[in-house]
Symmetry: C2
Subunit: 350 residues, 2 copies
């Protein structure tokens, strides 16, 4: 049973872990080079000075790891150590170059975050329902892993294993390149008049949503994984260059769009299952309180489960188009039911 | 009063316009080079042979326009003509090179579409709540414009005016580049193992959603606007090349991410108003029917208006995180209310 945990770094992740542990009766101590930030985080999470902790969590930017490893190891030479950085090869190199034995170190990456950093953005539920990746080296002791798995379970996350190199390739592909592509698209809008932006639909909004992310945090993440990102981004740059050369050849443009669609279709659906083909039911509603409630009431009444939902508003309109993602049979039942009681239901989309 | 409309092209847009007009008592006739497609579309929309129509709508790919202009003009020499292509400079050039007087031609672009093309995907409500852009030339007769505005109103869309060149620049920025960026990201996932894709979050899903679009349709759109897209895409290609050269300079990466965030923040919020800062309320729910209904019931009870909503599921979890976008005061009211009756409400995000 995990009893005492020391967290080095009072940022979003460190303080969120502290909040989650405190709420489950684990004693925590948060340390930070900034005394004010440290005091705030301990106040928020009920942290106190601890001796002989079982687990030390490095929750600080990976480039700062070498500054704290030796002192933390000498303070708690028998503890297990873990980090929570977004990139996993680099912290392993830092630990290998230190006195800390690899048997006592577990590299991890919680797949959770927010646009707002710092202790004031921390949330005890930040990790609930999320994946938390572990990338242990062959030297890692089973007892170290057990302790980290216990911590992950306490935060409400679920543990997944990868090698560090696989992890860094994976996050470059599923997280870092999407961030860069979204920011790139954001950058391209720099000179676009606002009255044009007003005409934009859900496509532009969706593709640029994560462009709003924190520049400092993301520059550290991208920098730490620059080798893998560089490799994958060079491929993307070449694809874009090839497309640019092919704009006068419709069949090459079609081939490009088609390859994107085919690859995109490989992203699995919810619950980690296979990619699911949802059926979509569009409904036009008045844009006022009570409309969504009424629709979901009808869903509950006939036991239809809504998998996802989008809401679209257009400039100057007082109604909205909501589109429910459902199983094919649920979509048919709900369409029949809502139509029969007078809702403005559109034909089902497959 | 619009009474008789001839639609040349039985695809998604043409048949959807026909459905919308038929439902409002306007007589329609759909023509297509493919007799089978023509028959299907007329069956669906109640089309019949018409003489002396007031309005002819070119609802076919822009490159095919020169093949039909002369015959359509000689058939109805006093009618008004409009097109519905996604690009507006090119059709104007085609009409200028024909016998059809510019006074009788209105170039337009309805901002609506679907992933599924063809008459079988057509929907009478396709244009409801959407913007419909008109890009008339100086020669355009007011009576022609009036007729087209009447048609737009009948479909439930709202009319917006731009010059053709502005339109093509605008759609390159807000629609064509996002499509290309999303497809590019999709292409980059071609070799990514599915077990890595399983770890992806809402970021990857959002940025690649429109990568699922129709390759043939999009190759025509991109090809027709290739000059403007080429200009803007060259800028994007250069930005990406610069970033690739700067991956070992964290401050340059930060500057890039920051520029993206700043420009993205310029996209206006709903109803065409200024960009609005919503407040977000996260709630963890059991992933089963009735949960969303219950929440929306409570929203209605205390008169809280939900502006937007996301639903996130994680691999292997049986609960889901829903995040409601609300005004700041509504978020506070709803958080207090739901907490008081036992919902798992997380702290408000600003």
């Amino acid at each position: 049973m995990l009893k005492k945990v020391r967290i080095v770094g009072s940022g979003l992740i460190g303080t969120s872990i502290a909040l989650a542990l405190s709420a489950r009766g684990v004693a925590v101590e948060i340390r930070d080079i900034d005394p004010g930030a440290e005091a705030l985080a301990n106040d928020l999470a009920g942290g106190a000075n601890l001796a002989e902790v079982e687990l030390v969590i490095f929750a600080l930017p990976t480039p700062a790891l070498p500054l704290v490893i030796e002192s933390e190891f000498s303070l708690n030479p028998n503890a297990t150590f873990m980090d929570v950085g977004s990139v996993k090869c680099e912290p392993i190199v830092h630990v290998e170059e230190s006195s800390l034995p690899m048997a006592q170190f577990v590299p991890t990456h919680p797949m959770a975050g927010r646009e707002i950093g710092g202790a004031h953005g921390a949330r005890g539920d930040l990790f609930a329902t999320r994946s938390w990746i572990l990338t242990p080296t062959p030297e890692c002791a089973p007892s170290s892993l057990a302790l980290v798995e216990e911590l992950i379970a306490l935060t409400g996350a679920s543990a997944h294993y990868l090698s560090a190199h696989e992890h860094d390739q994976a996050v470059a592909a599923i997280s870092h390149l999407p961030q860069i592509a979204s920011s790139l698209l954001g950058v391209s809008l720099g000179q676009t008049p606002v009255q044009w932006l007003e005409l934009s639909g859900a496509g532009l909004r969706d593709t640029t949503r994560i462009a709003a992310s924190d520049p400092l945090l993301w520059s550290q993440i991208i920098y730490s994984n620059r080798d893998e990102i560089g490799r994958q981004l060079a491929g993307m740059h070449k694809e874009l260059g090839d497309l640019l050369e092919s704009l006068d050849q419709p069949e090459k443009i079609a081939e490009f769009i088609k390859r994107g669609a085919t690859s995109r279709a490989r992203i699995p659906g919810k619950h980690g299952g296979k990619a699911r083909e949802y059926t979509f039911l569009p409904i036009v509603i008045d844009d006022k309180p009570g409309q969504l409630a009424a629709i979901f009431n009808e869903c509950a009444k006939i036991e239809v489960n809504v998998e996802d939902l989008t809401i679209e508003h257009s400039p100057g309109q007082l109604n909205a188009l909501i589109t429910l993602a459902l199983s094919a049979s649920d979509a048919q039942s709900l369409s029949d039911h809502l139509s029969s009681i007078g809702w403005n239901v559109h034909p089902i989309l497959k």
